[in-house]
Symmetry: C2
């Protein structure tokens, strides 16, 4: 159904048809559809959704859209939506609201919902606690498959994640039973015979990147979150893990391009905020680049051989590119937990050999070009040697700095192209003019 059809149905007040069509749509596409309606139509259509669907659609909306929608709602109506939302989605929504509004809204939700939301609101934005949900299926070890299925039927409708059930004894998590176990076994079998006690779990305060990497490694649908006494307090589901991976990667890329990480969408971010996120690093890098002002020390060199200046951009760019190749590989390797600190020397040794090959090939190509263009052997050798030296240093610096950052508990992603380039530029200019000074007796 296109947006036009929906608009026509609204104009002609065909409410029954609208209702029918809406019920067939999934929540993701519905929230997209609603974003394209104008405000009054949006409220109208939203109110026609049944309670649970409305909460789901609301979860998938972005913040601006939610704000515009709830302007016309009473606190009680908003409370009803929150009651129907998954706790983690509700927390996402409330995190974007002023805290006095949050307090007012929470007065209108059920005692149970309020408790779990308040609990989740307490976790830091980077922790597993902030992405977990408190809806999951708790079973007892002495239940039969039949009793377990009955329990799921009773509370299952509200829970997206009935596929891994958690067997709890005196509040402690003792193991998991999968929906598959329940489906393929006889109804009289006891859960104690099905339970898997070698489960993977995380703690509430673990970094959310850690839990996302566990999903990547173990192909799980959900991972239980336990507190320090191994009591289960929530679960993280694979879809949240995909969101965390996407978000962390975006943040890594932003940091690698010398920006402050920002999880808002590009077009939704204001010009001011865009500028703010970019200026700090640019200023730092700009002032660092003035170190390359040491170039003036070699004033006499480029006064005598002005052609020397023309190779500066090529040397600087090639050094920067070589360094950022190495740093990118190492940063990504660290992020997906393929590399770690103990690999430092293996990485350095590999980069050194790669830099000899790459440096050799590029120096040769560049040396030949200079010979052909300027017929000057000395110039050709000076530039080629400088290029080789620059490439070796770039690759070593580019590979070591991200690991060093990780070691000092900094984000390796900041040790990417921009900083590496600035550092390598200085090296390349010093190498270049030192070699030139000797060769041309300046």
């Amino acid at each position: 159904m296109t947006i036009k059809v929906l608009q026509t149905l609204i104009e002609t007040k065909k409410y029954k048809s609208i209702h029918e069509v809406l019920s067939e749509y999934n929540s993701v596409d519905l929230s997209e559809l609603l974003s394209k309606l104008d405000e009054s139509d949006r409220v109208l259509v939203f109110r026609m959704l049944d309670k649970q669907k409305a909460a789901e659609v609301f979860s998938y909306m972005d913040n601006d859209l939610r704000q515009s929608l709830i302007k016309t709602f009473t606190k009680q109506e908003i409370g009803n939506i929150i009651n129907e939302m998954f706790a983690d989605d509700a927390v996402d929504f409330l995190n974007d609201m002023p805290s006095n509004v949050v307090t007012q809204l929470l007065e209108n939700v059920s005692h149970e919902t309020r408790e779990s939301i308040n609990h989740l609101l307490g976790y830091s934005q980077d922790s597993v606690g902030s992405v977990m949900t408190s809806e999951f299926i708790k079973l007892k070890p002495n239940m039969t498959v039949r009793q377990a299925l009955n329990k799921i039927r009773e509370i299952g409708l509200d829970s997206e994640t009935v596929y891994t059930c958690y067997v709890v004894d005196k509040r402690k998590l003792i193991g998991i039973v999968t929906a598959k176990d329940l489906m393929i076994n006889d109804e009289s079998v006891l859960l104690t015979d099905l339970i898997n006690t070698k489960y993977i779990s995380v703690h509430t305060n673990d970094d959310k990147e850690k839990v996302a990497n566990l999903f990547r490694k173990y192909d799980l649908i959900a991972i239980p979150v336990v507190d320090s006494e191994n009591c289960i307090v929530g679960i993280v589901t694979f879809d949240d893990a995909i969101d965390v991976l996407t978000e962390e990667t975006t943040e890594d890329m932003q940091k690698m391009a010398a920006m402050t990480a920002n999880d808002e969408q590009y077009l939704k971010t204001s010009v001011w905020k865009h500028a703010k996120n970019r200026i700090v690093w640019l200023l730092v890098l700009m002032f660092s680049a003035t170190i390359t002002g040491i170039i003036t020390r070699y004033e006499s060199a480029f006064a005598v051989v002005p052609l020397l200046v023309s190779f500066i951009p090529m040397l600087m760019d090639t050094g920067g590119n070589c360094g950022s190749q190495s740093s990118t590989l190492v940063i990504r390797g660290l992020a997906v937990e393929e590399l770690n600190f103990s690999d430092t020397f293996k990485i350095m040794w590999k980069e050194f050999r790669v830099s000899l090959l790459v440096g050799g090939a590029l120096s040769l190509a560049n040396g030949l070009r200079i010979m052909l263009m300027y017929r000057d052997i000395k110039l050709s050798i000076v530039v080629s040697l400088s290029l080789l030296g620059t490439i070796i240093i770039s690759k070593i610096v580019g590979s070591v700095l991200p690991i060093a950052a990780k070691r000092f508990r900094l984000d390796p992603a900041i040790m990417a192209a921009p900083i590496i380039t600035t550092i390598v530029d200085t090296f390349s200019i010093v190498i270049y003019f030192q070699i030139a000074t000797i060769a041309f007796n300046l």
Copy 2:
């Protein structure tokens, strides 16, 4: 259990204890454990695993480990492992073998397995077909819940993905039924009453990035793959989608750092291959950077005011950084389908305003620095104006090129820092010396 305990058990030939301990371990950790044993022990332990577990552990090993393991196996033994593997994992394994070996191995697997593997081997590496598996649960619309559960019990043990079942009529996919539907409904209910016909599906030849983005958007556990006649030929599961997302992001980052994409692990890639992946782009960029040799046109300028040369690195670096900030945001926005071609003008307008703010701030800071250091108003204005011009151009070029690449069906990721820097360098040098020439009457 640490590797040492396992080694001791092997040395003391405590086979029964080994067997017990192994059965409690999950396949991911077991494959890691096996990688740390020496070759003969590894074969010994692997042979102690039961058939299905052995196949799973084998799936999680990397290629080198698999090769070393199967050296001592007969073709028949390898065939048995392949029979037990999921078809998509088997294809991954076979793709790394020489084609004559593949033919020999396939002679030793069941007719059914051979057919589905041959089918999957036919899809291109970038297509959905290459990541789908042919194991899934097919149901008929006139079945009851009881019959469906019986069918799952019968074939379910082999299938990781019983949680979404596919209702098929005359080979055509007509809808899906979830395991949750089967669990919470009465056994006599007909599937026709539970079926969801508004499912999301993909075609075998769709790009695998497309299906991965559908998982990101719709939070699904599995997506059916259909052919041109809407017959279901396989499914893609969320864990494969996480792998595709990880792989695509790694490839994007590699391309953004001017490398040929490579999905091998860093330490497993040979020095030669590392060098080969990096040299081509470096050569292209190095020769492009020689365009900035136009700097020699301004020889007279820096002969008269040698200080001018000292600001070149700062200008070039800042331009490069500004451009790569913009290109990174746009490349990532395109990859997660948050931005698309129709946003081009919105993006340009936003980047223009951001560049005024960023350029203004940086020019001011830099102008003040030059005033303080050199007490030369003219120099300060020349450098600041050049900086402002460079930043505006960098941000526009950096944001537009990735979109243009996408439009021409190139990968936007290649329009990242390295190319942007090379292009922007030329602009910044021309702007700088044109302004300087006028200001200093050179």
